[in-house]
């Protein structure tokens, strides 16, 4: 679930006020406005000062937030949203229909280069302010995922006056309606967030009226996981993210530290197999890879119960997720047979399979920024395990730029330079399937980047996902998504591993919860314990 | 009068080395000078250091025992470090053997000389006064300037004097001076000795360690001869130096260069002729120095020519020019009647075997990684001669076992012989030797000089010998050239020059070189 497990922290009376120190292992954003670019670190921090139009609860139900009500027309092309009355941004600018229009246009402005947010609102053709509290969206085609998109931090509402200051200034201190306000940003050191004394827009997680208990949050950037753990232990910081699995295990065993498990929504963590070119253009080879990977013992040993094996393309928090464990067995003999069938029937001196003089090589670029140590160790195990049936997996750790470079579409119709990859993708709702497995997703952006990295181009899947995106009937949508997921799984395009891990450890603080959208923590209820 | 120094049964041993001094007895009174003589390694320096409680310096800690050890009136037998410290500098001054490195190059001479005062908390102003006085007493000109300079800005002689100044600045009762005149010009050495004489006359007891019997004869009242750490002879100087009782003392005396060579009968053909050589060196910070100024000279076959002069007079520069290690600014050198100095190196190379240099520092001139055998083989190959290394060793009286040894493993005398052997590999017409014996023990020096004379008589090779020691030149050479400030101030047959020196410098040099009384 999206909520935190609110086990009482060891002793200590909760107190009002004080400064909470949060240490994040994620990269420091280059811009605090999540409209610009739009990655998870931005969502994390902007949760404290920006709020979206709608929220989502633990069960995946959309809940009112800045918008109190919404209605969709029969044809699904017109949406009417009602905004809460009398709301202002922290700079005093009113949150009205005009402001929503400015925000959507800001997201669609090429200058902001918004990625996730842009994908979410791309079907909105026009925003029509009806009156102060009513706004109407005109869509180019029906979009059943619109509310889910609008619930994400990447589409959160900002003060139009703030946006008007220009990107450079807005990046330094975006202005929203959240419980905190950006007070200071010292790059590479910290962002200081001060309490919003006039806080009035309580979202689904808020448990009390009025401003937050904390007076201030110091948001620190601490890339080294061991240092983060030590800092939490020594009481220098109250909350850390991205802990090592072992730290989670020892936290659970002890009293002092509380663990919050908040798996991200949307896609699961998986290994994607590039089906556009040999050897994985042959389903049998993909299946052989999956049959020989044998990741269960590894996940168990490396994560020690912190992560649970998944057999679905979707996160366990997605109600429409479909799972089929029977497809992901370990069967080396079958794997060998499949490979023989596919023509990989010779073995070279080093024990790798060969066909027509070509080795069965799987190039696997690994992003050192996005895969934690345990995950990299798991990939090493996959490398060793698939090696037993003759795959040569070449793991290449790369920095983010180089990693994107390795995944980018070749310039002039040449080959891709990867056969397998694990790329995280966070988006609320099952519509993430359309981003990841629709053939549209193989069309690269000008930078060469594309989201459908397994390069699934199945017309049936395309049809199912398009249809599901248009419908609003939950039952029918669920059926369609299930069928699409079944096809993805049965095609062995991916090897699902576990939910996108999102853990927080806290010490000396209570009342930390996570939003039901992209599982970012909110400190609206948090209180330090003495 | 009570003894300033009274030592009995002094024994010093080093772990792994054994006894270096064995039961030495000494007695020295104020206003007198006791000389300690002996061959290299006899233990003279260890003795000198023991008297200030620093026997073990620079090596393993020493074990010192004695029956009686009274220094400057204090019994220091079993004294601890603090007692010694109170004594050092105040009551005893020590002048170490390595004079050139005994002043800290990073501090001013004034600070160094005044240190023993500073240690005792003497105020700055008074210290300065006394430093200047000591420098003046040590015979340094312009004491104030010297005090502000650093040791590397001083010449060797100046350093030696500054060091003595630092030892006498607090007016010690006893001055221990270890080889205070080695590496000094005859004239400079004489100055230092005179200064020590004045100190002695003023009441300081002086313990003089020296291998230079001339210096001993000039200064010492009594002499102690050491051999293998034991006193083998002692007595009044005039007795020991004229009627030595022990073999070692006798050998030391015999080794002092004496006498002269008979003139060459028939002067051979010219092998080397230098005409009007000029060489000017630029100095850092502008200006220059004329190392050679219109120098001419002729060397004939079968003849030995000596070059003497004060330090810095251009002797080495001349030697290097003759072997074409350096080019003259003006003037020329002819080799066996043919052009030499003005040829390009390429044309000179085939005739290089005709002239050979034996450098002042033989150790530096050997590749440290090469064995003696390899050195000789390379020399033979380079000159295209048909000698064998064994033959060459035989020529310089070195045992064949030397072949396999590296230069570092040879003694100073052996190295010098090896250098000469290497030069002889080419059967050169002329052999140029730059200070071949200045670094050697008197006994070893005598052996080398003898070898040179004998060699020349056998092979007829012309010799050009550079030396600061007139006695050496007199013993080996037929003719002599006296240099001063890059100029030749006198030249002529040795006998004539000794008998009737014409230049002032020659007279001064001859006067300075004190003769040791004949045995």
């Amino acid at each position: 679930g999206g909520g935190g497990d609110d086990a009482a922290t060891g002793g200590g009376e909760p107190v009002e006020g004080g400064t909470l120190v949060y240490a994040t292992g994620d990269a420091e954003p280059t811009c605090l406005d999540p409209h610009v670019g739009g990655n998870y670190p931005q969502a994390l921090i902007s949760t404290q000062y920006l709020e979206p139009l709608v929220g989502r609860d633990a069960a995946g139900e959309i809940q009112p937030w800045l918008a109190t009500d919404w209605e969709v027309s029969e044809d699904g092309l017109t949406w009417d949203l009602t905004l809460a009355d009398g709301i202002t941004f922290t700079d005093g600018t009113p949150l009205d229909a005009e402001a929503v229009k400015v925000n959507i246009e800001h997201l669609q402005d090429p200058d902001t280069a918004s990625s996730t947010g842009y994908l979410g609102v791309r079907k909105i053709e026009e925003v029509e302010p009806v009156d102060t509290t009513h706004v109407r969206f005109h869509l180019s085609e029906p979009d059943s995922a619109l509310l889910e998109s609008l619930s994400m931090q990447w589409t959160a509402m900002q003060s139009p006056a703030g946006i008007a200051r220009g990107q450079d200034e807005n990046c330094a201190a975006p202005i929203g309606t959240g419980p905190f306000v950006v007070a200071e940003w010292v790059p590479q050191q910290h962002v200081v967030l001060e309490r919003n004394e006039d806080y009035a827009t309580h979202g689904p997680e808020a448990d009390h009226d009025g401003p937050a208990h904390l007076e201030r949050i110091e948001w620190r950037f601490l890339p080294d996981p061991a240092t983060r753990g030590a800092a939490l232990q020594s009481g220098e910081v109250h909350v850390i993210d991205n802990p090592e699995p072992q730290a989670v295990v020892s936290a659970e065993a002890g009293e002092e530290i509380t663990h919050i498990d908040a798996p991200r929504p949307g896609s699961v963590n998986r290994i994607e197999l590039n089906s556009s070119q040999p050897p994985f253009d042959d389903a049998r080879v993909r299946q052989a890879f999956v049959y020989s990977a044998d990741v269960d013992p590894g996940i168990e040993a490396l994560y020690q119960g912190v992560a649970t094996r998944s057999h679905s393309p979707l996160s366990s928090v997605e109600p429409m997720g479909y799972s089929d464990p029977s497809l992901f067995v370990t069967d080396l003999e079958e794997a060998e047979r499949l490979l023989e069938d596919a023509g990989w029937d010779e073995v070279d001196a080093e024990g790798y399979r060969v066909r027509d003089g070509e080795r069965l090589t799987v190039r696997f670029p690994v992003s050192t920024n996005q895969s934690v140590a345990a995950e990299q160790a798991l990939f090493e195990q996959v490398q060793a395990n698939t090696g037993r049936v003759g795959f040569e997996v070449v793991l290449t750790p790369l920095d983010l730029s180089a990693w994107y470079g390795a995944l980018a579409a070749p310039e002039d119709g040449g080959e891709n330079t990867y056969e397998a990859v694990s790329a995280p993708y966070t988006k609320v709702g099952p519509d993430v399937l359309r981003t990841l497995y629709h053939s549209d997703g193989t069309v690269p952006a000008p930078s060469g980047y594309f989201a459908n990295l397994s390069q699934v181009t199945d017309p049936e899947i395309d049809a199912l996902l398009d249809e599901a995106a248009r419908l609003t009937d939950p039952g029918r949508r669920a059926e369609l998504y299930e069928e699409a997921q079944r096809r993805v799984l049965e095609g062995y395009y991916i090897l699902p591993l576990y939910d996108q891990q999102n853990h927080f450890l806290t010490r000396g603080v209570e009342g930390v919860t996570t939003l039901g959208t992209v599982s970012t923590p909110t400190f609206v209820n948090a209180r330090l314990t003495s | 009068m009570s003894a300033v120094l009274d030592v009995a049964g002094l024994t010093v041993a080093f772990p792994g080395v054994g006894e270096v001094l064995g039961g030495v007895d000494l007695r020295l009174e104020a206003g007198r000078c006791l000389a300690v003589v002996g061959e290299s390694g006899a233990g003279k320096s260890v003795l000198a250091r023991s008297l200030v409680g620093l026997a073990g310096e620079g090596g393993a800690p020493a074990r010192v025992r004695a029956e009686r050890l009274t220094v400057a009136g204090q019994d220091v037998l079993g004294a601890d470090e603090r007692q010694w410290r109170a004594l050092r500098g105040e009551q005893v001054g020590l002048v170490l053997q390595d004079a050139l490195q005994s002043l800290d190059p990073l501090r001013t001479v004034g600070a160094e000389v005044g240190e023993s005062l500073a240690v005792r908390g003497v105020g700055r102003a008074e210290r300065h006064e006394r430093v200047l006085a000591a420098l003046a007493a040590a015979g340094l000109d312009e004491p104030a300037t010297r005090a502000a300079q650093r040791s590397d800005e001083l010449s060797g002689g100046m350093r030696q004097r500054a060091l003595i100044a630092s030892a006498i600045v607090s007016g010690p009762a006893l001055l221990v001076a270890d080889e205070p005149t080695t590496a000094l010009d005859a004239t400079v050495a004489r100055g230092v000795l005179e200064m020590l004489g004045r100190l002695r006359d003023a009441g300081t007891a002086i313990l003089l360690v020296s291998h230079d019997l001339g210096a001993v004869a000039r200064l010492a009242d009594d002499v102690v001869a050491l051999d293998g750490g034991r006193v083998v002879e002692s007595g009044p100087a005039d007795v020991v130096l004229t009627r030595p009782a022990h073999d070692v003392t006798r050998a030391l005396l015999a080794a002092v260069p004496r006498g002269s060579r008979p003139p060459v009968g028939e002067p051979g053909p010219e092998v080397l002729r230098a005409t009007g050589l000029h060489r000017r060196y630029r100095l850092p910070g502008g200006g220059g120095v004329d190392a050679l100024d219109d120098v001419s000279l002729v060397v004939r076959r079968g003849e030995a020519v000596g070059v003497v002069g004060e330090s810095g007079s251009g002797k080495s520069t001349l030697a290097r020019m003759l072997v074409a290690a350096e080019q003259p600014d003006a003037g020329r050198v002819e080799l066996a009647g043919e052009p030499w100095s003005e040829l390009p190196e390429r044309r000179r190379r085939p005739r290089r075997h005709l002239v050979r240099l034996v450098p002042q520092d033989p150790l530096g001139s050997f590749d440290p990684r090469w064995s003696a055998g390899r050195v000789l083989r390379a020399a033979i190959r380079a000159s295209g001669s048909d000698r064998t290394p064994a033959e060459l060793l035989e020529l310089v009286r070195l045992p064949p076992a030397t072949l396999g040894r590296r230069p570092r493993a040879l003694s100073g005398g052996q190295r010098q012989r090896l250098a000469i052997a290497r030069a002889l590999a080419a059967d050169p017409d002329v052999l140029v030797l730059d200070e071949p014996v200045s670094a050697l023990d008197v006994t070893v020096q005598a052996a080398i000089l003898e070898l040179l004379v004998e060699l020349q008589e056998r092979t007829g090779t012309a010799l050009l010998l550079v030396s600061h020691d007139l006695a050496v030149v007199r013993q080996v050479c037929h003719a002599v050239v006296v240099m001063q400030d890059g100029r030749v101030v006198e030249e002529g047959p040795v006998d004539r020059v000794w008998a009737e020196p014409r230049a002032d410098l020659t007279r001064a040099l001859l006067a300075a070189a004190a003769a040791v009384p004949d045995a």
Binding site: A377, Q381, V394, P397 | S365, R369, A378
Partner: protein
């Protein structure tokens, strides 16, 4: 027969003892052991360093696994032994690169004409001014992560040091009295270079290089920390050390084993280098 052998052996060991001292002999022994592990790892650890067994992950040192097992259940002892080759190779290769570049720069500057000396001295200075890790970051950005770029960058970074030593040394030898003596004997300059300058310059450098190998191993391991080092699943010590570092409080053996391997090897090489340079004729 046996008696003579033992006597020969005894004098041989005594000589080594005399030349190297106790510290040097121990260092030499350690280096020999590491060399053995590098050349024939199977001899010391017959297992497969990459064989995974997740069920046996995080075993502490004991009877089953001498130095425990890592996150994937791989035997740490086996990996440390098999990592010797790569780590030592990395150190040696980086040093070789540094040395060869240093030789070119140093000899060029010392023996070439004045303008070349001025030029190369500047090059040396500039190389000095780019700290090794900065160079490494750039190179890795160009060539991608892996041992290759790390080795090259560490090599490049160490080159100016060698060049400087070489330049000074070569100049000293070239101006030495024995080179002068050879010239006066009429020996051709290139011959002198080969006979005197080269051996007397390079030999002291061997000692410095031994020292450098240890340093290079440490530097390459630092690159592993930044995620720029050896590729998985290679048991390169720096990579192991970095992977184990995260478990320092829970599974100490994961850092201690490769950490000791690096420090002991580097320290032994350093010590040996220092001993060698103390005994090298100079």
């Amino acid at each position: 027969m046996t008696a003579t052998t033992t006597r020969a052996e005894r004098t041989w060991t005594r000589r080594a003892w005399q030349v190297l001292g106790p510290g040097g002999v121990v260092s030499a022994a350690v280096v020999a052991l590491v060399l053995l592990a590098a050349l024939w790892p199977q001899l010391l650890a017959p297992g497969d360093p990459t064989a995974v067994a997740p069920a046996e992950a995080y075993q502490p040192p004991g009877a089953g696994a001498l130095l425990g097992t890592d996150a994937s259940g791989r035997d740490v002892y086996t990996r440390v032994v098999h990592g010797a080759g790569q780590s030592l190779g990395v150190g040696a290769l980086a040093t070789a690169i540094g040395l060869s570049l240093g030789v070119v720069l140093g000899f060029g500057a010392a023996l070439g004409p004045r303008w070349l000396d001025a030029l190369l001295s500047r090059v040396i200075e500039v190389l000095f001014a780019l700290p090794s890790l900065v160079l490494a970051l750039l190179l890795v950005a160009v060539l991608g992560a892996g041992v290759g770029p790390s080795v090259i960058s560490v090599g490049l970074a160490t080159a100016p040091g060698y060049a400087r030593i070489l330049r000074a040394r070569a100049q000293a030898v070239a101006q030495s009295a024995y080179v002068g003596a050879a010239r006066l004997e009429g020996v051709w300059a290139p011959t002198t270079f080969v006979r005197h300058v080269l051996p007397n310059t390079v030999w002291p450098l061997v000692a410095v290089a031994t020292l450098g190998v240890g340093q290079a191993i440490v530097w390459v391991s630092a690159l592993s920390y930044l995620g720029l080092g050896a590729l998985p699943p290679s048991p390169e010590w720096g990579a192991m050390l970095n992977a184990g570092r995260l478990h320092i409080t829970t599974s100490w053996w994961l850092t201690v084993a490769p950490g000791l391997a690096i420090t002991v090897t580097a320290a032994a090489l350093t010590m040996l280098g220092r001993r060698l340079s103390a005994v090298a004729p100079s």
